[in-house]
Symmetry: C2
Subunit: 330 residues, 2 copies
Amino acid sequence: MKFASLRNGSRDGQLVLVSRDLRRAVDAAHIAPTLQAALENWVELEPQLQALYAQLQAGHAEDAFDFDPAQALAPLPRSHQFVDASAFLNHGRIMDEAYKLTIKKTPGMSVMVPRQGDDFRGPRGDYEFPDVEDQCDFEGEFAAITDDVPMGATPEQAQAHIRLITFIDDVSMRKHLIREIQIGFGLIQAKPATIFAPVAVTPDELGEAWQNGRVALDMRVARNGKAFGHPNGREMDWSFGELIAQVAYNRRLRAGFVLGSGTVSNRTYREVGSACLAEQRAVETIDHGEARTPFVQFGESLQFEVLDDAGASVFGAIDVRFVQAARAAG
Amino acid sequence: MKFASLRNGSRDGQLVLVSRDLRRAVDAAHIAPTLQAALENWVELEPQLQALYAQLQAGHAEDAFDFDPAQALAPLPRSHQFVDASAFLNHGRIMDEAYKLTIKKTPGMSVMVPRQGDDFRGPRGDYEFPDVEDQCDFEGEFAAITDDVPMGATPEQAQAHIRLITFIDDVSMRKHLIREIQIGFGLIQAKPATIFAPVAVTPDELGEAWQNGRVALDMRVARNGKAFGHPNGREMDWSFGELIAQVAYNRRLRAGFVLGSGTVSNRTYREVGSACLAEQRAVETIDHGEARTPFVQFGESLQFEVLDDAGASVFGAIDVRFVQAARAAG
């Protein structure tokens, strides 16, 4: 199944099922008014949602309409818990080499970044930030969304609670990142609101690309419409189940929990490129002694998309323009 | 006004208004079904809520009933964004002196800790954690809850969006804290679910104890019923408005945002004691070269309460027992 939440004036949007080819949609609000509500009652509601999805796929769903990603909020417009992993160790290796970092990682465990879930952004429109001196960057990542996961869940148990997969642009302000890592208690100004793909899909929609709890597809990133990088998700050093279990060690994870993979990064980065500027700039620093690629400036746009082996878009595309924030109105 | 959310089988509970003396309550669900809903429409709904509260105070509210804190969830049982500050610098000074820490704080800014909001705990019952070797501790803190705060809000603007004040026990696992601070990306296993007082109150309920955006009342902490410490909230080094504005620098804060003060700590700590074990243990380390107070063991209970100048409980009491977690059921 594929899900989106459409603008309807509410904070959670209107839940719709979207056809596999992303062309058509049908209102699912009579089954669950919001994706949050669907996740809270997933096991009960899944058969009805599957039946409606089958009708939509067969072209028999009443009141189906054309799906317009410009009307989409984030699939889950807000979450009560969002944790971002750093599960592609290749990214860390490049950063460490370029900047002689000495981050004391715990052996066998991914770095985890607690994040805010109150203002997930949809896939189109403008993204405001106050100052280009903050060094605006992007990070193309995959993300898993769960229903309730009990405390102490094993990786296998945790993986069985993954109900949806999507991708995100984890917008990052690099100037604040270095400062906040040195403080050591977490990232605030380094990590403003996160941008989501228009559609989240059940793992079965990925077919053979859902491999060992990883998304074995390319994260295609473009800057101002020009290809930037396309690393593949299969090199994730932990499965989503393992990452979720790490977080669940001494806490319950409640329905709507979002776990990000960290920026997708491959050992073949010299061929496939990167999913964030920081990594590209680190490679330039290793090669030339200095970074040459500038951070995101006001007026630039970024595009992210994930295609299946047949070249079809799986989650729809992010295409967002970055602009200067207006002053607060009070 | 004073608010609580009572158990009704739902994740958000049933919104009630509670009388100033915490004895009586009345259902407010016909005005707003949940506290989250009230916060999303605060300006519109406040007059109706005030009218009902006036009836309750006058003893005229129909269907009023005895308030039982054992039936209370957290006042806001879940939030889409919870950030915990560290706004009592005295606490950091003691920790730095005892353990020769060299945390690189940003001058003029509080340390901020992004946290999870999906599983806030109510004021009674058992709190499960897996292992006493994790070094279970408590932190008595005040907390502010806002409606929507725009990006870039000034401290004055941010303070005007504070709708409710409450207090929390920020449960902490010290063994993981040191490890996770060294990694530098945020706290996960160090900071499991947070326990809330039964009642949240509008700032006007604090009367003269609401001073410059601070709660000038003692945080009374007891361990197994025996007094442990009672530091006062007036020594907070930033106002709640300043702390919230710091977080809002480059992000919108959406209704239901929770900002914790960090553990309450006073310069007169040798007279008033501490609101967490870590600080008490640090004082012992300074005095005796070693910590003597043990961390929380299975079977222990903790009590927190805040009294006004007349000796009346403002938010009700936390009284929770700490027990070993059962294994995950799947």
